[in-house]
């Protein structure tokens, strides 16, 4: 199994004009070549997702959403793509804003808080494949790496809340810490079940297994339940409504990011949308067959020959995984604009008394299921 980084190193090492023993140069070049696309992806993802969020919320509330700002003179008019330049304008505005740090804040921690959150989201992308072999580094512990790195982000949230020296921020940070730690457990447990069935932690092996058998969502009732638990806990870990008590604007102004503005605030935003994309991509890979074509799976059950209308292949794979991830992101937005926020005690109740017992029982029952039918 080759990864994106391996092929890059091989390519650069094979070039004639690269001197011998230039491991250092190759290392730096490859790091930049790998980091830039991830950063670009995160930025683009945030811009597109914000526009999508505003349009989806507008649609759900029977409004039009952003309609005025065009891009390069293209305004779109009174159709659903009106205001297509809104997020670009917003991003430029955010970058031009004055950077304020409260006088009583702890300067150093105030500054590094958002970057820890961003760094965690950024590093998580290293392990997530978006197609066959299209992964930055193919660890033998894929899933575990992603869970471990994304657990760092909460430290950034706590630091930001504490360093702001603001009651609302501190409350937001405390709630966020309690929530993220609680919901890490059901996430891990529901993934454990998939790992148990496949016998590997690698994303590639999980998708290969699904290619040979069926998607995990349809594999057994227990894996379907695990998907629900994973997705709901994932939404909770991203701090989105109905689980957004850390930044509940009606009680805490904006929670841990109350004191942030301009560029630093936009880093929080970038990380939140990047985390959304991570949860959507992970659900798509682990439970919805990743880059496998749904048509291929469907036709193969009827014992049809491999053909072009299966829409399978490396580039179709990227298309399918994007479609699945975007659909899941849409579900997150749908949920956000449909349900009200939970109370903190209800949130803890859902995590500790519903999700974790169900996830534990799930592991037990899927073992029996695999023994009897596997």
């Amino acid at each position: 199994m080759t990864s994106f980084t391996d092929s890059l190193i091989e390519l650069l090492g094979g070039l004639a004009w690269v001197p011998e023993n230039a491991a250092g140069i190759i290392f730096v070049t490859v790091s930049v070549l790998v980091a830039l696309p991830v950063f670009l992806f995160m930025t683009l993802n945030a811009m597109v997702a914000v526009y999508m969020e505003r349009k989806v919320s507008a649609f759900m509330q029977d409004r039009l959403g952003p309609m005025e700002v065009g891009i390069f003179g293209f305004k779109g008019g009174k159709r659903f793509w009106g205001g297509i330049g809104q997020t670009v304008a917003d991003a430029v505005k955010l970058l031009g804003k004055e950077d304020t740090i409260p006088g009583e804040a702890d300067r150093a921690l105030f500054i590094i808080g958002p970057f820890i959150l961003f760094g965690a989201a950024f590093a998580t992308f290293i392990g997530i494949p978006i197609g066959y072999g299209l992964v930055i580094s193919d660890f033998n512990i894929g899933i575990f790496f992603v869970i471990a790195i994304s657990s760092i982000g909460v430290i950034g949230v706590i630091l930001a809340g504490w360093a702001s020296n603001n009651k609302w921020s501190l409350y937001g940070a405390m709630r966020s810490a309690a929530q993220m730690i609680s919901y890490e457990l059901p996430v891990g447990m529901s993934l454990l079940l998939v790992v148990m069935v496949v016998g590997s932690l690698q994303f590639h092996d999980i998708v290969m297994w699904q290619e040979q058998h069926r998607w995990f969502l349809f594999h057994s009732p227990f894996t379907a339940l695990a998907f629900l638990i994973f997705f709901a806990s994932g939404v909770a870990e991203v701090n989105r409504t109905p689980f957004d008590i850390p930044e509940a604007e009606s009680e805490l102004v904006a929670g841990y990011m109350t004191e942030y503005s301009g560029f630093r605030w936009s880093i929080f935003f970038l990380s939140e949308y990047a985390n959304m994309a991570i949860i959507a991509l992970m659900s798509a890979i682990i439970f919805l067959g990743g880059w496998l074509s749904p048509l291929g799976g469907l036709f193969r059950t009827f014992n049809l020959e491999q053909s072009w209308y299966f829409l399978e292949g490396p580039w179709w794979g990227v298309f399918w995984i994007s479609i699945k991830a975007i659909a899941l992101i849409f579900v997150m937005m749908w949920v956000r604009w449909t349900w009200p926020r939970l109370r903190p005690d209800q949130l803890m109740y859902v995590a500790w008394k519903v999700f974790i017992p169900f996830a534990l029982a799930n592991i037990f029952f899927v073992g029996i299921w695999e023994l009897l039918l596997g």
Binding site: A23, L109, I141, A148, I155
Partner: protein, 170 residues
């Protein structure tokens, strides 16, 4: 290449650890400790022990450090910056400090020497397998089963104690 990366992370780890003990502000110490753990995880990654590296990040940096942060935040631990004079024992120049430093340096050299000797001896396990999930699992459930179970017992006792202390009205 690997060697220079190792030195980079080792310097980061040592620097962060020194910062943890020498810094008067407990919040900064916790953050430096997280940074140190990240560097340690990176060293494990260099050794291709991905599982242990990720465990390091998940358990220490992700969970235990969050608890540390909670404690430091909620107990409102005062910064020592207001009274910067260290206890006599730790002042550079006191003979105590010198003796202590010598002991620690000796211990450090001993440990480094021992692990260097262990590295020279050929290992039975192929290097890419060390620290993989199956290796760790096998070691935990065969050779170290008793300590593993005892540790879980200890955790259970701690958990019951916490519930008992926190919920007096049950």
């Amino acid at each position: 290449m690997t060697a220079s990366l190792f030195y980079l992370f080792a310097v980061g780890l040592l620097g962060a650890s020194l910062f943890v003990v020498l810094n008067p502000n407990p919040m900064y110490s916790v953050v430096a400790l997280v940074f140190g753990f990240a560097n340690l995880a990176a060293i494990y990654f260099l050794l291709e022990a991905y599982f242990i590296g990720a465990l390091q990040v998940l358990v220490y940096a992700g969970a235990i450090m969050v608890l540390f942060l909670f404690v430091v935040m909620l107990l409102n631990v005062q910064s020592d910056a207001d009274h910067p004079s260290l206890p006599r024992v730790f002042r550079i120049g006191s003979w105590w400090f010198g003796a202590l430093a010598l002991v620690f340096i000796g211990l450090f050299l001993l440990l480094v020497g021992r692990s260097a000797l262990a590295l020279l001896a050929p290992s039975e396990v192929p290097p890419t397998q060390i620290g993989s999930v199956s290796q760790v699992g096998e070691a935990l459930f065969t050779r170290y089963l008793l300590p593993f179970e005892l540790a879980s017992l200890l955790l259970t006792v701690a958990l019951i104690g916490t519930v008992f202390l926190a919920k007096k009205k049950i």
